[in-house]
Symmetry: C2
Subunit: 708 residues, 2 copies
């Protein structure tokens, strides 16, 4: 939304205008197959169509005027497709005629060159000054089956399938209607184009209030207002699943996004964290986007991940097991009662168990055996969902083998347990149509699609169950004011990089830092060290030294007082020699860390999405093997646990090769506190705990860096 | 093939019998929709059909006899579907009547219980004794469009699409014919069922000789004769691509395979290595198997991986770039000449470059602009393939926007450069049919499918270009006889585990082992150590000690002679105390390894596939993070390089964080030599070089283990 936070119902003018003015239409558009006049007619739009073009004569279907000023009644929406240089002038006409909603179809703005970028800025500035909202530019606009209105010159479906589409490309508005997966459309759609004014979050909030939209399908190239998007999406997706395809997921793709829609594509890692935070269901490609949207409109989320397989083919059942395992679902264990109930249907040499190989029972009598098996399986309390593999015997001659009516009816009777189908054979399209007829079950293109979709349904169910409130950390709250004063002090001192103050901040939030003290003389050092346990280390405290080891400003493994004094003198001498300009205000004396596993915890502030949290294995592998987990902050305790579990390194933390397990609770707490710290204090730009040493007793911070 | 290596043309009897006898058919099968009599009729089989059942009367379509003995003429093939207990008796009838080819449809053999397993063994033994070949049991048999014969009771396609199918499940014989991807069938098909006799390698060799089969599609659950399969497949796939789906790719799936087809599913890692060795194109699921089979029948392998994108939608182009990057293809750079040639078609503010966003040129005049752009792109020498995204405007009213004829014609004119299509919109099925009509181009379900398929086409092209001969290693050949005599000595000594002999063997193959010697007394030790450079280490030489460090049989980092003597005495004392029963014959004195990166190289002998080679990062991460590469031996130099490149650790070997790169040539040589060593000497069961220390100068073996 814009800063002025306008009425979200402004989008009604776009989706359901009573009168629409078409500006920039050529005479060739009249009667052409690819023309808004044609699509409006086919949609059956009942509002008034006003063409602004002195060379087009009015017809039964539309009025025509030479200019907007001549239109006698109020226009709700203007659809502009004049060349880019002329758009601003048309906007002026709109303003004069009190038009508040404008779709700019014209290409060649921020999506093209610098001239286009400037034109877009000027247009937007004018619109803001004059209370005009713009969809686009570079868009085919909207389609709405409820008002039978579309601004698209490309033919789109007009059906009330409960999916609301919001896209950054007109491509998705064309729809994708293959016979084996019909219908796969939408009831409402917006192409955001360059999204210069109306953006994704505004459309999400709008769809939230539309009863006919149950699932939101989203194609996204880039978001500038990341935090607002996450806030809106996290709210909306608690009631309506948002299924999303992020384009530009590779580096080359990201670069191309900039030239296509003029959007800034941020780092995909931050996007992934944002989608996760908002409970968004992500798709890897357009085909999956379509399948997932339809699946979320078809199925409720299952209660768990235990899947039964019912297959007419043993080979198919094995493929299903592979797909189930690959999607991190589990093969359900059937209860003894279920097995006993079905025993008589099978020959003695077939074990009645999951997967159920049903060829012999159904070959004997499909219409008795099939529903009995499917229902018994769905009634089993150990089963959350069923993958059903059946041959596509729906041609009339196969009446005795047609299971589709049973699948349909039984799926409708067990709405909490998805029945996901896959088929092979002669009439896949017909089988699909029959199974999907009542919208209670689906036939998937592959078993991997079926299992992958089920996993996403289950994850979405878990998201809805989860509390979204981050864990409260009492010590941290106590520490917030202390930290505010430390930060105030640092700010006044002009510091942008905190060292000992950083350790104080961490301690103020109740974090466990290896015991330390500061000394500004040899005598003070000796007295401070007396309160610490050897071995110790020394680090120069200086705003002028960032890389301590390069400048000799560090000494490790000091085992007694004698060595301590020598190390101190050597350290000062070395710094003086290697970094003569550096002013060493004091030394930090600190206990050496105990033995343990090295981790790093970091936090940073993303310009679009705000605070982010990272945890990784310490050492060379974090960076090179990419073994880290990334989230938007704040994180809940469950999220913090997830982050650690996501690391390959977690196997080592859990105690590989007979080693004791590290104290996970301490690592989780450190994560939660860093999360809260960066959220509490917007002055902090970056926090880096590296390393955090974890062992079976706890976790200790050895070194840290806080950047303001 | 069986040990007797029979005439591969025996399969002609299965695929093209002049007379087939059906044994076990019930009267209910007559006229039923799911019946071999019905499918044979619909296939238009022209041979003679003989039903063996006293209760079935002959008809116009088939003869009928009470028993096989009554059939007046020779029967080429018997199709048996009597209950499992009766199969052996029918086989006896077949033997009496000189029937050499038998399909056993009946289930319940090794796929079921112990009784079934025994029945299968008895049946097979009888068949072998009597010169009968068996397909199955637990199979629906064969289909062959060239002879219009099928043994399947399930309706299958009868079309000459140039794919030969071999499957371990009847599922795949049903075919999968969705409208947007028609036809996706096969001209010949075999369901191997339990594969008790006729196996995969035999069918591959048969298809190799069938002109009508250009691509072999394979569904596999398990192979017992792995080495024979690899040999045959590697030969066949040089002329005919083999596209393969391995079921049981997960642990639960593997377990299910055993009960489905009675096949032993080996480790998937070995399978993957075998498929790679044989140049097999692997699919992840049934849908991908179908798409890939069709693609290999449609396209030749491209010369490289440089892809141009031509899209009517900018948003679609970005999705294509993502798919191209994800598939490890590259975005082609268009030549200046190509860009200049197309410049006038585009408005000035659109950069003419890859991806080509063609909406404006085609909206102006599709039939002039579209072919010009596609041809110019294909003519560009920097382009190996084109991904073409176009709206499915094939309905009659869209005649002015229908690009399908251009795609079809131009794809046919540039057979070396695949044109892969993706579409969106109202008539996907129609667009697909029109584009695919001449078999020169395809429309893919998703851009990821298109790019993924192209990557596999390119990889297959590279496989065909590659020499299959392993690199010759002169030193190794020289060393083979030395090694044979060392092995002979060890065998005579009853050793199953080689230590110092292992080092000798490695050196005989020209491998670089850290300098070492053996001493059996203190004096000898001092004199041997004089020829080595400190620091040194000591290891107890004893057939009774496997884990040296547990028994105190090892001493590291010895810096001078004084320490050497002390270490020697301490070592002997420690072993005496900790492993009093161990007989220490001598000590190994060895130079400590230089600083470097730790690797492990291993080789083992798989019972089905033979010698395998592995390389991994040393240390805890190899095992826990699974950072290793695995191949069947022998490997070529290129394969050895690939193995190293496959490791995440290769980034560290290449010199991360400013460190010098390790000497890769030395690591490659060590791999090649271990590969040759295990291939040359079948007595060796396992070789383990751990660690091999690599640095910028070379690679040194520190420790090794050879198991016989």
């Amino acid at each position: 939304m814009t800063e002025s936070d306008p009425d979200p119902r402004i989008l009604d003018l776009f989706f359901s205008p009573r009168r629409v003015a078409l500006i920039g239409l050529s005479r060739a558009a009249v009667g052409a197959p690819v023309s808004i006049l044609t699509t409006l007619k086919e949609f059956g739009y009942q509002g008034r169509i006003t063409v602004i073009n002195p060379n087009i004569a009015p017809s039964e279907e539309y009025e025509a005027y030479a200019s907007l000023d001549e239109v006698p009644e109020a226009v709700d929406l203007a659809v502009i497709s004049v060349p880019r240089e002329g758009v601003l002038d048309v906007l002026k006409d709109c303003a004069r005629n009190a038009i508040r909603a404008v779709i700019v179809v014209t290409q060649g703005f921020a999506d093209a060159d610098d001239t286009g970028k400037k034109l877009q800025e000027d247009m937007l500035a004018f619109a803001r000054e004059n209370g005009i909202r713009i969809l686009g530019p570079n868009t085919i606009g909207v389609a709405n089956a409820f008002s039978s209105f579309t601004s698209s010159f490309i033919e789109t479906h007009n059906e009330t399938f409960p999916v609301g589409l919001v896209s950054q490309s007109g491509l998705f508005m064309m729809g994708h209607n293959i016979v084996n997966n019909e219908p796969a459309g939408f009831c409402m759609a917006v192409d955001l184009g360059n999204a210069s004014d109306i953006g994704l979050d505004e459309v999400l909030a709008y769809y939230e209030g539309v009863d006919g939209v149950r699932v939101i399908q989203c194609h996204l190239e880039g978001i500038e207002r990341g935090a607002a998007f996450v806030e809106t999406a996290a709210r909306v997706s608690r009631t309506k699943p948002i299924v999303l395809l992020k384009a530009g997921r590779t580096e080359a793709g990201q670069a191309a996004v900039a030239s296509h829609s003029g959007a800034v594509a941020g780092e995909n890692e931050v996007y992934r964290a944002a989608f996760r935070k908002a409970g968004i269901v992500t798709a890897d490609n357009a085909e999956q986007l379509r399948v997932l949207s339809k699946a979320f409109a078809t199925y409720a989320a299952p209660k768990g991940r235990r899947v039964a397989v019912m297959s007419f083919s043993g080979g198919g059942a094995i493929l299903a097991i592979d797909a189930i395992e690959a999607a991190a679902l589990t093969l359900a264990s059937l209860s003894e009662a279920t097995k006993a109930e079905l025993r008589d249907l099978f020959p003695s040499w077939i074990a009645v168990d999951n997967p159920l190989d049903v060829w012999i029972p159904i070959a004997r009598d499909l219409h008795s055996a099939f529903p009995r098996i499917l229902e018994a399986t769905l009634r089993d309390e150990g089963v959350d969902a069923v993958i059903c593999i059946y041959c596509s015997y729906t041609l009339p001659k196969y009446e005795a083998y047609d299971s589709s009516v049973h699948i349909r009816d039984i799926a409708r009777a067990y709405p909490g347990k998805p029945v996901l189908c896959w088929t092979y054979g002669m009439d896949i399209a017909g089988f699909t149509r029959k199974v999907e007829q009542d919208g209670a079950a689906m036939v998937f293109p592959s078993l991997d699609d079926a299992a992958g979709t089920l996993a996403k349904l289950a994850a979405y169910g878990e998201f809805r169950e989860r509390s979204s409130a981050p864990a409260a950390i009492p010590e941290a709250n106590l520490g917030a004011s202390t930290v505010a004063s430390i930060l105030g002090r640092a700010r006044n001192g002009g510091a942008s990089y905190l060292f000992t103050e950083g350790l104080e901040i961490l301690e103020a939030y109740g974090m466990n830092v290896a015991a330390w003290s500061v000394a500004s003389s040899e005598l003070e050092l000796i007295s401070e060290a007396a309160g610490l346990t050897y071995p110790l280390c020394l680090k120069a405290v200086s705003q002028d030294i960032v890389h301590k080891s390069d400048s000799g400003g560090i000494a490790l493994g000091i085992i007694d007082q004698e060595e301590l004094v020598l190390a101190y003198r050597r350290l000062l001498a070395e710094v003086r020699e290697r970094a003569p300009q550096a002013r060493v205000s004091a030394v930090l004396v600190q206990e050496m860390a105990p033995k343990g596993k090295e981790l790093m915890i970091g936090a940073k502030r993303d310009p679009s999405f705000g605070p982010c949290l990272i945890v990784g294995a310490g050492g060379i592998y974090t960076e090179i093997l990419g073994d880290y987990a990334f989230r938007l902050a704040p994180v809940t305790e469950a999220e913090a646990r997830d982050m650690i579990a996501e690391l390959a390194f977690s196997k080592i933390l859990a105690g590989a090769r007979g080693e004791p397990a590290c104290h996970q609770r301490s690592i989780v707490e450190a994560l939660l506190k860093v999360s809260q710290l960066i959220c509490d204090h917007p002055e902090i730009r970056e926090i880096d705990l590296n390393p955090l040493i974890a062992n079976e007793c706890g976790a200790v911070i050895v070194d840290s860096r806080i950047i303001l």
